[in-house]
């Protein structure tokens, strides 16, 4: 199975390639990609150089243009697609049907992948995108169980890519409005969930308090591992209890289910984390590559090294192994 690795900067890109990525995904420095963070991402020139570097090392480059186009400003996304094609991207990762139509029509030879943001989670939706826009691969939302993935795999006409490690977006992706509700900005339209411009950390005695817009998201007592200031990982007062309403500050790790994912027909494993530093990318890609090539009983020991780098310093298999609670 291919290992698809994140890069937010050319430095991280080089680290990912050198650590053994089969493909690296990245995006432009604007609202066309779902990791539109300050100081992150690639200029056109940087992308061109990165793709050339990857090609030399036998690694592919996927360019994420995976936000939804703003009516009247489609040109920003069209230009992004044109530039990514001109730079030699091996695939474009797209979420917006309008942009898929544009790419399929204008660049019929360009390989097209369906972004997780498109939230294509059943065979009808996926086959529609395959038939209509010639999509070659779908990145499945992190809301499906492995049994769901196996069922879908039997009835679709394209490859499947799934997230196996990194940050966990727990809602139906591309549909979550929590960030919009709190800040007016969302990953779907602006490329940022819980934008840094609306985040505030303050110390209250020995506690660390995180705030998003007008909302207090969490309060971490001294010594407790912290998490990102996203609403889905917030700790709230609900009726008589105080706790995590949706999900704990935790990261995804389903590498323990690699054999089951392979049997389900998954052809590519995706690592989340374009917003992370190059040290993280280098370490995670190296360990994941070793884990993929190791027998199942050795994977656990390898992957335990990564837990301390994860959100909340904990990992979960998320919806892949969904149980009723």
């Amino acid at each position: 199975m291919e290992l698809i690795c994140p890069a937010g900067t050319p430095a991280a890109f080089h680290e990912a390639v050198d650590a053994g990525a089969d493909a690296v995904y990245c995006g432009f420095r604007d609202e066309t990609n779902a990791r539109n963070f300050p100081g992150l991402n690639f200029s056109r020139e940087e992308l061109k150089e990165a793709i050339a570097y990857a090609k030399k090392k036998g690694c592919e480059t996927f360019v994420a243009l995976n936000t939804f186009m703003r009516a009247g400003a489609e040109e920003i996304w069209y230009q992004g697609a044109a530039d990514a094609v001109a730079c030699g991207a091996d695939a474009l990762i797209l979420a917006d049907f309008g942009l898929m139509a544009h790419v399929a029509e204008k660049y019929p030879d360009q390989r097209l992948h369906v972004s997780v943001q498109a939230s294509a989670s059943n065979p009808d939706a996926i086959n529609f995108l395959v038939d209509t826009f010639n999509a070659k691969r779908v990145v499945l939302p992190r809301t499906l169980t492995i049994a769901d993935i196996a069922r879908i795999g039997k009835s679709i006409r394209c490859e499947m890519e799934v997230f196996v490690f990194g940050g966990l977006c727990v809602m139906a992706e591309g549909r979550c409005s929590l960030s919009s509700y709190a800040t007016g900005k969302s990953p779907n339209m602006n490329g940022v969930c819980s934008p840094a411009s609306h985040v505030r950390y303050r110390k209250d005695g020995r506690d660390l308090v995180s705030e998003l817009g007008a909302f207090t998201i969490n309060r971490f007592p001294e010594g407790e591992a912290a998490g990102y200031p996203t609403l889905c990982k917030g700790r709230f007062d609900i009726a008589d209890s105080n706790g995590y309403a949706f999900e704990d500050p935790v990261s995804l790790d389903v590498m323990g289910e690699l054999e089951a994912l392979k049997a389900a027909g998954v052809s590519a494993l995706k690592i989340e984390g374009r917003q992370r530093g190059k040290a993280y990318v280098a370490e995670v890609v190296k360990v994941m590559k070793a884990a993929v090539n190791s027998p199942p009983d050795r994977r656990g020991a390898l992957l335990s090294r990564l837990r301390s780098m994860s959100e909340g310093q904990k990992t979960t298999s998320g919806a892949y192994e969904k149980r009723w609670r």
Partner: protein
């Protein structure tokens, strides 16, 4: 978290601030010369002031990218900056070189950030995108002794960082 014991940092209180600042500016200029595009990723945040507060050193370092200057303050004075990052000195230096992941240090509570998060995130990404290597960049200040200085700086850095990441408090005596 204190990685450097106070015994080692106490003498800094006796050194005039102007001397410390001059040394820091020399190093800052050297890094700037080696990495001319360092602050390009800051964009609109270039005009802001960034404070770095080592938790184990009684000094504060304030960087002004717009004027390419670093200021050094004693921690006894209130720091005025748009964004403030606090962590043990060697972790701050490791972040500067991209040897550590800032999010991981934040999750483990070794690093804290207050103030303008957007500006500090841009700074973090700008530093991470650069290829600063303190042992190489600063060794050049040693002129003909650069290779030896580079080795010594690199060795100290690697040892300190290994200890820091292993969660040890350094015992340097």
């Amino acid at each position: 978290m204190q990685l450097i014991p106070p015994l080692l940092t106490r003498p800094l209180n006796a050194v005039p601030l102007v001397v410390i600042e001059r040394v820091c500016r020399l190093m800052f200029r050297r890094i700037g010369l080696a990495h001319p595009g360092l602050f390009e990723r800051l964009g609109e945040h270039k005009a802001k002031r960034f404070a770095f507060l080592p938790t184990d050193v009684p000094l504060a370092f304030i960087v002004e990218p717009a004027s390419d200057t670093i200021f050094v303050w004693r921690k006894t004075t209130d720091v005025i900056a748009d964004a403030v990052t606090e962590a043990p000195l060697f972790m701050l230096l490791a972040l500067m070189e991209g040897r550590c992941d800032a999010d991981a240090l934040f999750f483990s509570r070794d690093l804290s950030v207050t103030g303008d998060m957007e500006a500090m995130l841009a700074m973090r990404n700008a530093l991470d995108a650069s290829s600063i290597d303190l042992s190489k960049d600063l060794a050049r200040l040693a002129g003909p002794f650069a290779p030896m200085a580079g080795r010594v700086i690199g060795e100290i850095r690697n040892r300190a960082l290994d200890r820091a990441l292993a969660g040890e408090t350094a015992s340097w005596n």
